[in-house]
């Protein structure tokens, strides 16, 4: 961050930074410290007594089969969302990049779901698959299947994965398209002249050159599935049936605002905080490397 010509005032820069730093400290840093502090305490629901318990809140979580089950759900859910949305987006981006006419129009038709809130995407898919009135559920039933995500946990998981992926295809599509357009055309032409067909070109040239984009999207999609899909779960299943679609962020919310289990919810927050910090570090490491080469 070197610009050689700079101003040398002492107080002015702090004055300029003050609003951003104030919001960051009051609403981000302080609550995070508070969460870490509370995660070492046991407090009754009325806040009458608190007691330092060390790592007990954490060990209790890791011994809790329900928490481990929810962690497993989160893994299945985020891998599902990442796999579905990235593979469809890659397919569409490769095809849209290859066609000569209509690429701009296709792009417009494919990008707008990005703007749909995860909660609203949930409502749309909930309606389509509603066991009594949903048109898609009716279609499945008329073909001899039986759709009821309100009682069938596997179907519920499939449904929330579909709703969360649908919205994310646009995002992945745009980044894959940008990555594809950055691949030098001469490289592909040279390979074509050497007799490599479209599929071989994709496998040996395009896919390896896209790997930085793919890796970046992998991290972003996992973060999205872990944290931004709260609205999808909350509108569609509220974690049910049973615990089958309960994911970690949803459990933190429940334990904080409904269960009022303060020590445990703080410990869960801290675990999620470590997850998101780890993912952010990975993402930035990679970006630094990309800038270098």
């Amino acid at each position: 961050m070197q610009t050689s010509a700079v101003f040398t005032h002492r107080r002015l820069p702090w004055l300029l930074l003050a609003p951003q730093l104030a919001v960051t400290i009051i609403f981000f840093v302080w609550p995070a410290i508070e969460a870490v502090y509370q995660s070492f305490l046991r407090e009754d629901a009325f806040g009458l007594s608190r007691q330092f318990v060390g790592l007990e809140n954490f060990t209790a979580l890791f011994e809790d089969t329900r928490y481990l089950h929810v962690a497993g759900n989160t893994l299945v859910f985020s891998l599902g969302v990442t796999a579905v949305s990235m593979s469809l987006a890659l397919l569409l981006a490769v095809l849209a990049n290859g066609v000569i006419r209509g690429a701009g129009f296709y792009k417009l038709l494919l990008v707008w779901p990005y703007a749909v809130a995860p909660a609203l995407a949930g409502i749309i898919w909930l309606f389509m698959f509603h066991p009594t009135i949903g048109p898609v559920a009716q279609l499945i039933d008329s073909l001899g299947g039986h759709w009821n995500h309100q009682t069938n946990g596997t179907q519920a998981m499939i449904l929330v994965i579909l709703a969360a992926s649908w919205k994310q295809i646009s995002y992945n599509f745009l980044f894959f398209l940008a990555g594809l357009q950055a691949i030098p055309r001469s490289l592909l032409e040279a390979a074509a002249i050497d007799g490599a067909g479209p599929f071989k070109r994709f496998k040996d040239i395009v896919f390896p050159l896209l790997s930085p984009t793919s890796f970046f999207l992998l991290v972003v999609n996992i973060v999205y599935a872990f944290f931004d899909t709260f609205g999808t779960i909350h509108t569609m299943t509220r974690g049910g049936p049973g615990d089958s679609t309960r994911i970690l962020v949803y459990k933190v919310y429940e334990d904080s605002f409904i269960g009022l289990n303060l020590g445990s919810s703080a410990a869960q927050s801290v675990i999620l905080l470590l997850v998101v910090s780890g993912l952010t570090v990975i993402q930035f490491r990679y970006i630094e490397r990309r800038v270098q080469y």
Partner: protein
């Protein structure tokens, strides 16, 4: 490419159209269903073309404050969402602009510390510190207020980084020239830097507006007064009444209305949107 394979090109177009159909069809179905009367709705199969109750259904949810909409018209909710989205977008841009300006154009002790403090916000999404942040806002007496909806969400590492990246490309001759002409730092910011950043600011605005409009968890926990409810959160409340009582002829039009503003922003400002999206992630 070098070879001209018409069949392959045709297949490509075909698969893209299937993809587009998969992406667009859910919304089309929702829109069609939102124009039906309750009777048509429960009849055996859903038509593929809109029904005749478009005006009636949309007028009902927009202006009537029925029980199903929790005693508040969707118009009022859209207004609340607009205030929140604009507040978040403009707030983020202003404080990030000032912060990035300080970090790039000034040398002072603690500069890196300030930079890393802002960076940390990336690691602390609201979802991982829900309860303590709620407590802070409650202690400041900001529940059920626009300030409470907006202020805690306007810190932005991404906006600060994007503007910092852009400011670093401003040639130092420009700063030099401004100084020789006697322009102080504020003058330089307002008269030179701001006009130069116009496109970047507009692209940021598009992204941040969508981000603000689509907030869900934060309004859900900080607003209990229905007249403060935002539209995205309220649609869920309309749905959470027990399966047989759901009034789909009100829920679906409200859903369509709730997603319309950000979708329109993306479609009408596609170029700025793509620029903002791709650059904020660098």
């Amino acid at each position: 490419m070098v070879e001209n394979r018409r069949a392959l090109d045709l297949i490509a177009h075909l698969i893209i159209w299937i993809g587009i159909a998969l992406v667009v069809f859910p919304l089309w179905l929702t829109f069609v269903a939102s124009t039906l009367s309750p009777q048509e709705f429960f009849s055996s199969s859903l038509p593929l073309l809109p029904g005749g109750h478009f005006l009636e259904n949309y007028r009902n949810v927009l202006f009537d404050s029925s029980d199903a909409t929790l005693g508040v018209s969707v118009m009022k909710m859209l207004g609340n969402s607009l205030v929140m989205a604009l507040g978040i977008a403009i707030g983020k841009i202003i404080i990030s602009l000032l912060a990035a300006y300080a970090i790039v154009f000034f040398r002072f002790r603690g500069r890196m510390l300030a930079f890393w403090t802002i960076f940390i916000t990336l690691m602390l999404p609201v979802e991982v510190r829900i309860l303590p942040t709620y407590q802070v806002v409650a202690d400041l007496d900001l529940l059920d207020s626009y300030t409470g909806l907006i202020l805690p969400l306007i810190a932005s590492a991404t906006a600060t980084f994007l503007l910092r990246q852009f400011f670093m490309t401003v040639p130092s001759e420009l700063v030099e020239a401004a100084r020789v002409d006697g322009a102080g730092p504020i003058r330089f910011l307002v008269d030179i830097l701001l006009p130069l950043s116009r496109t970047n600011l507009a692209a940021l605005f598009v992204i941040m507006f969508i981000y603000g409009w689509n907030q869900y968890l934060w309004p859900l926990i900080t607003t209990t007064d229905e007249s403060m409810a935002t539209v995205v959160t309220s649609v869920q409340r309309m749905l959470a009444v027990g399966d047989t009582d759901v009034r789909w002829e009100e829920v679906l039009p409200a859903t369509v209305l709730a997603m319309l503003p950000p979708v329109l922003v993306v479609i009408l400002m596609q170029r700025l949107f793509v620029k903002g999206l791709i650059e904020t992630e660098k």
